[in-house]
Symmetry: C2
Subunit: 426 residues, 2 copies
């Protein structure tokens, strides 16, 4: 096996990314849409998104990459392989942010990929398979839904046409927004991918709680989201005795407890959250007549998720019957649990071990572009800790040494896949 | 004892109000501020309030009443007694409404009083003590707080100056609003009241549930109102395992249940309501970081209310400790439990019995002008059923026969008090 005529495999294991350059690029990108509180507001397909895309492409071209844009605006920066007919080993993430987003969510995955390519360019190392860094359009879903739009189209989760027709709150369509920033590409057909890696901040507290540098992501939780409406009877808080009430908020409290219990019953990966709740009429001395709330259930396997669904529906029925009121439950989102590819997960683990970083198996509780990519290619993810587990927040923070470590693991995992994907070439 | 030279007492028991006239007056008054949905929007001290006041005064003058307005805009329509030096037997209520109010709340008490005076005028009956019908300013508190403003000033619950300085959302003071509608009277000093009765729709479901016409109101519940803030930790619903969460809404659910339990522990009169609740950031896939909610506790006696206060504070502490988060509790309103005067309550009961109406002892869960009046004079209330117990709603409704029955009980009770207040006169 030969990757580059003058480079024995031994030296590849010693190869390291430039952590300072990675950090500098992250900080430079974070200036586009920088907020006063140290975060980033760079919504998908805005002028700020265009500037960030332009900067990424300029950086990619500096190191000799070719760049393509597909019809939903996904960017693919490609570094040719020795056997360029092989499907690429891809990495990437997104550079759109939440309205009060941080510097690292998504941006890290894109710039870690760029740093891998820069490192290989500096060392004049060619891989067998080509390497690509993808910038997926509108992962956050803050301006346009559905979320993970670019990777969703790429993976066939929904159609290109469906995505292009979505509109923001001002009525601007994805199609028009893409055209206005000059990122409506013409490559509508997804290309084959040999392997997909994505480095990301954890967005949770587990790695930090375990003082661990690398999260070896085994897969992503499945998700079921619901809208629940509790129909009680609005009445005066004073003159209405307790036994004659039909208090919608009291039933909602039962459901909040039930959602928590359902998640605990499916430990360790079960999750249950009521994140949004609205009381009507929401007046201090009026018994709530109607409560609407959301439920977010997650589990690592579909059997658990199905059990949790049944338990939620039973809890709604029981709580409603007890109080003599109606509870409506509507499932509004379903994401299947998504295990990652065993050999790619092993490559991530091997990278962490080889480099001597502490690591642990984790599962992604959130959706990521990699979760859609896993439907059409072998995929895996690398998590690094973020401060206090906080993201989607201007105070989102991560340590430079952790970001560098994750990037080095990504480098090793990609080299591993790019060497073996194409077999050997004498 | 002699009430009118030509009228033996026996005929007074046979005296009846004109139910159709009462209903017609209610419907006529309801046209001022009528809403499309059949309700009334007539906020305190607006032009609509002025028109309604003017109409009431015109009606009162038609039957020979003298009219005074005090410095907070309370109107007193007085029918002279044979011994006009005696403190008046007063009745009344309010004619301001909620923004989506009904035709009966308050208006009934005022027009029932007017109907009593009209009936006595028709029958040419004079009472020993003078009779007065009061229209109390701003009972609802929808435009200006505090609620029950006119009766509160009259009873010394707060000062005239404090009330006059309150402003609505547009910055208009009570003082200026009173002046602009021409109802800033000059009589700042409250006058003595011999007895105070107030007829009112129940605003609750108890009478209807018991198929009973007259509620003999024994007193009013005391109230403690609180603002509660639960300080959790906002985090991503996906990546945050259940055991690492500090979910403010889960603690709020504990408190909603605790408030309900505390009320049930103080049956039959204990009441506990969480009517208002706000979740931050209120996003489907974010664990709630902060929840603010209100608590409304009511009880018939101060010992119970004190126990309930202690139980609420203990529940907040326990729920917070269990979850490792902080719960702040602040009491924002206190109304003492207010028993009504035994002899006046007996007069109401006697009126119902004499007239053959079904009746039951009830307690007022809501505040009323009578609750403040009870601080400075013997007071009692008469409740009649309202449809489904609903008020503060444009669909508020009541039956004409119930309204007539309550008005006849009011007539008998006022005659009883007005005859005996002054003793006999040969």
């Amino acid at each position: 096996m030969q990757v580059h005529e003058s480079t024995p495999v031994a030296t590849l294991v010693d190869l390291r990314v430039d952590g300072a350059r990675l950090w500098d690029s992250l900080m430079q990108l974070a200036q586009i849409g920088a907020t006063d509180k140290g975060g980033v507001c760079r919504l998908a397909l805005t002028e700020l998104d265009r500037k960030a895309r332009d900067l990424f492409i300029a950086w990619a071209k500096e190191i000799g990459c070719s760049v393509r844009v597909d019809a939903i605006g996904n960017i693919f920066a490609r570094r040719a392989g020795l056997r360029d007919d092989l499907p690429p080993v891809m990495t990437g993430s997104h550079i759109d942010t939440q309205p009060t987003g941080g510097k690292f969510d998504g941006n890290y995955g894109v710039l870690a990929g760029l740093e891998v390519l820069r490192t290989l360019a500096d060392a004049n190392i060619r891989t067998l398979a080509p390497l690509e860094v993808a910038v997926w359009t509108n992962e956050e879903g803050s301006r346009f839904v559905p979320v993970m739009m670019g990777s969703g189209v790429f993976a066939g989760a929904f159609t290109l046409e469906h995505a292009l027709e979505q509109r923001d709150r001002e009525g601007i369509s994805v199609r028009d927004a893409l055209a206005s920033i000059g990122y409506a590409g013409d490559s509508a057909k997804p290309h084959a991918v040999g392997a997909y890696f994505e480095a990301h901040i954890e967005q949770g507290p587990v790695l930090e709680a375990h003082d661990t540098t690398i999260g070896v992501v085994q897969g992503a939780l499945g998700q079921r989201w619901y809208d629940v409406t509790v129909h009680g009877m609005e009445a005066h808080a004073g003159p209405t005795p307790m036994e004659l009430r039909r208090d919608a908020l009291l039933v909602a409290a039962d459901l909040i407890h039930a959602v928590n219990r359902i998640a605990l019953d499916h430990a360790p990966h079960g999750r249950g959250t009521v994140g949004w709740l609205d009381v009507h009429p929401n007046s201090r001395n009026v018994i709530p007549g109607r409560v609407t709330l959301t439920v977010d259930l997650r589990a690592a396997d579909d059997a658990s998720l199905t059990e949790m669904d049944a338990a939620l529906r039973a809890a709604c029925a029981t709580a409603g019957e007890k109080a003599g009121i109606t509870v409506d439950v509507e499932q509004v989102v379903y994401f299947q649990p998504q295990p990652f590819a065993a050999d790619l997960v092993a490559a991530v683990q091997q990278g962490a071990d080889t480099l001597g970083f502490s690591s642990m198996d984790v599962i992604s509780g959130a959706g990521h572009d990699a979760v859609y990519l896993a439907r059409v290619a072998p995929a895996a993810m690398i998590f690094v800790p973020c401060k206090d587990g906080i993201s989607h927040n201007e105070i989102e923070d991560a340590r430079a040494d952790h970001l560098e470590a994750g990037c080095n693991v990504l480098l090793q995992a990609m080299l591993n896949a790019a060497q073996t994907t194409g077999g050997t070439e004498a």
